[in-house]
């Protein structure tokens, strides 16, 4: 059964220095509150996995939490580059990080294979792409039945996966609605999992085929109101496109970024997007 913990205690217990951590949410339900908690607790040497490491990983990388990032699309959607990611990769600030890049299809299949308890994912991909020349985790195998050459990547098996969802019931069962990305797969693939939710309710109100993750498949549930801001929670609040645009200027400069971290992550009582008032 999932244990109800404060976000502080959940991160303190399950995110260890050096861990492999997947924080998922495909441009929706991005677990920003949890990311900020990881930053506040000054976790170090993390291998961060995420299909679309948008500004949540930019913040964590800039704060010095990451030693390696595994991803398939790294940008600020519709805005531009991730300046903290680039500064770390290109100039080693605040530390040198390693990157390993895939395609979306590869990572989606790798999460699914992790959830399925398999060592690898097999799919029809990377044909003619030069990504295999820079990522030694991409291999090709021959189908034993047809002889077709197929791509293979290791499954994703994080030490801990962290996702955000709409709500949990009092037993800790979780409902995820809207764009569900690879969140369920991330939770099932991981040794431990933390799910932050907007609220705890008596009844999830789930339809028979809804995306529900049972309490007994989750390590900890923590309430984090507006925990996905500046991304959004379907049915609760919209995406702060304004902050995504503002982030470009904040992240461009090391001092501005450091000041932003102090003002919006280290010295705050409650999670918020971090917008200018």
């Amino acid at each position: 059964m999932a244990e109800f913990l404060s976000l502080h205690d959940a991160v303190a217990r399950y995110v260890e220095d050096g861990a492999t951590v997947a924080m998922e949410g495909f441009t929706h339900l991005i677990p920003f509150a949890a990311g900020h908690e990881v930053i506040r607790q000054k976790k170090r040497d993390l291998t961060l996995i995420r299909m679309t490491p948008d500004i949540i990983y930019d913040q964590m990388i800039g704060a010095g939490c990451a030693k390696k990032v595994i991803f398939s699309w790294g940008g600020n959607p519709g805005v531009g580059s991730l300046h903290r990611l680039r500064d770390a990769v290109e100039k080693g600030w605040p530390r040198q990080i390693e990157i390993l890049e895939h395609s979306h299809a590869a990572m989606a299949c790798a999460f699914e294979a992790g959830a399925a308890g398999l060592p690898l994912a097999v799919f029809r991909g990377y044909i003619g792409s030069e990504l295999p020349s820079v990522n030694d985790q991409i291999k090709f195998i021959e189908c034993p039945f047809t002889g077709e050459r197929l791509a293979a990547v290791p499954s994703v098996r994080p030490d801990v996966s962290i996702i955000h969802a709409q709500r949990a019931d009092r037993q800790g069962n979780v409902l995820v609605e809207g764009i569900v990305g690879v969140q369920k797969e991330a939770v099932l693939a991981a040794k431990h999992s933390i799910v932050t939710v907007e609220e705890i309710v008596d009844d999830l109100g789930a339809t028979p085929n809804a995306c529900v993750i049972p309490s007994w498949a989750i390590s900890a549930v923590a309430v984090a109101e507006k925990g996905a801001l500046p991304s959004y929670t379907h049915g609760y609040y919209g995406r702060s496109n304004r902050f995504y645009k503002e982030w470009d200027a904040i992240a461009r400069d090391r001092d501005t970024f450091t000041q932003w971290l102090d003002d919006n992550v280290f010295n705050v009582a409650q999670h918020h997007a971090g917008e200018k008032a």
Binding site: F26, T27, H28, M51, T52, D54, F71, S72, W73, G74, G75, P77, G78, V79, S81, L85, R86, V89, E90, E101, H102, S103, H104, A105, A108, C109, F111, E112, F123, R124, G125, Y126, I127, G128, S129, E130, L131, V134, E148, G178, I179, V180, G181, V182, K184, E185, C211, Y232, H234, G238, R239, S240, N241, R242, Y244
Partner: protein
């Protein structure tokens, strides 16, 4: 009638016209998304639009800023998980056309969205592959749209993120279960198609007011022109009105919050 329009509008309208009712289109964010929705709002109301965030048959009222905006989900027939999107719907052969943008493209329509320069010491680091590598090989065919410039149109891309026809034009030969690849490239100057034999991109149509020299000056290789070079039809008043309304609605929506 003498209509005034920009080269960007000409590009979007021409790209939109490439889509037809009956097509199932896997849509990239940005220019492809603008063109695909313009098609849906004009001549192709039944075109099926799919975004990699899992939204199937979506009909957004405004253009999304990110690939997973709530508008895409709320206006979709249904939303599936991302592994299902890539495995069943794309790899399973349900997508007739992939519509992609890119940072760099070469004469064999290979796409680079990874980096400019050397991999170990990039001059410019770009976002990476995203969905494109598998969209380009698993979709029935691929349309590409981007602005024409010497920086974007290079003889050989710095990095093949996504296969066009390979570094020698033969990258799809004898590969089983692979789509036709890029069938047209739509820019703000012209339309290009791959030569049926060599697969090198050839200009087949010039937009009104654009000269061969304009295209030559904006292309990083010795670009060839089709013998029967056509003139791209101008946008209609209706297309321009709907495009401008779509963009105005989008701007209002994104400015709000």
């Amino acid at each position: 009638m003498n209509l005034e329009y920009t080269s960007s509008e000409m590009m979007s309208v021409t790209a939109a016209r490439a889509l037809e009712n009956g097509m199932t289109c896997f849509v990239g964010i940005g220019l492809p998304s603008e063109a695909a929705n313009l098609a849906r709002l004009t001549h192709a109301p039944d075109v099926v639009l799919i975004y990699e965030s899992g939204t199937l048959q979506t009909k957004p009222d405004t253009l999304p800023l990110s690939i997973g905006d709530g508008e895409l989900c709320e206006s979709a027939l249904t939303t599936v998980a991302v592994p299902e999107m890539f495995r069943y719907w794309l790899q399973g052969g349900k997508v007739s056309v992939g519509f992609l943008g890119t940072a760099q493209i070469d004469r064999f329509a290979n796409l680079n969205t990874t980096l400019i320069g050397d991999y170990k010491a990039p001059k410019v680091r770009l976002p990476g592959g995203g969905g494109a590598p598998e969209i380009a090989t698993n979709a029935g065919e691929v349309f590409i749209t981007l602005k024409h410039s010497k920086r974007a149109f290079v003889k050989d891309v710095d990095f093949v993120t996504t296969l066009g026809f390979g570094r020698d034009g033969k990258g799809r030969d004898n590969v089983p279960n692979i789509g036709k690849g890029p069938t047209r490239v739509i820019t703000d100057l012209c339309v290009m198609k791959p030569d049926p034999e060599t697969k090198e991109l050839v200009v087949v149509s010039l937009h009104p007011g654009v000269t061969r020299e304009d295209v030559i000056d904006a292309t990083g290789w010795e670009i060839r022109f089709a013998e029967q070079l056509e003139s791209t039809p101008e946008p209609s008043e209706n297309e321009l009105t709907i495009l401008r309304e779509l963009k105005a609605r989008t701007e209002r929506a994104h400015a709000g919050e």
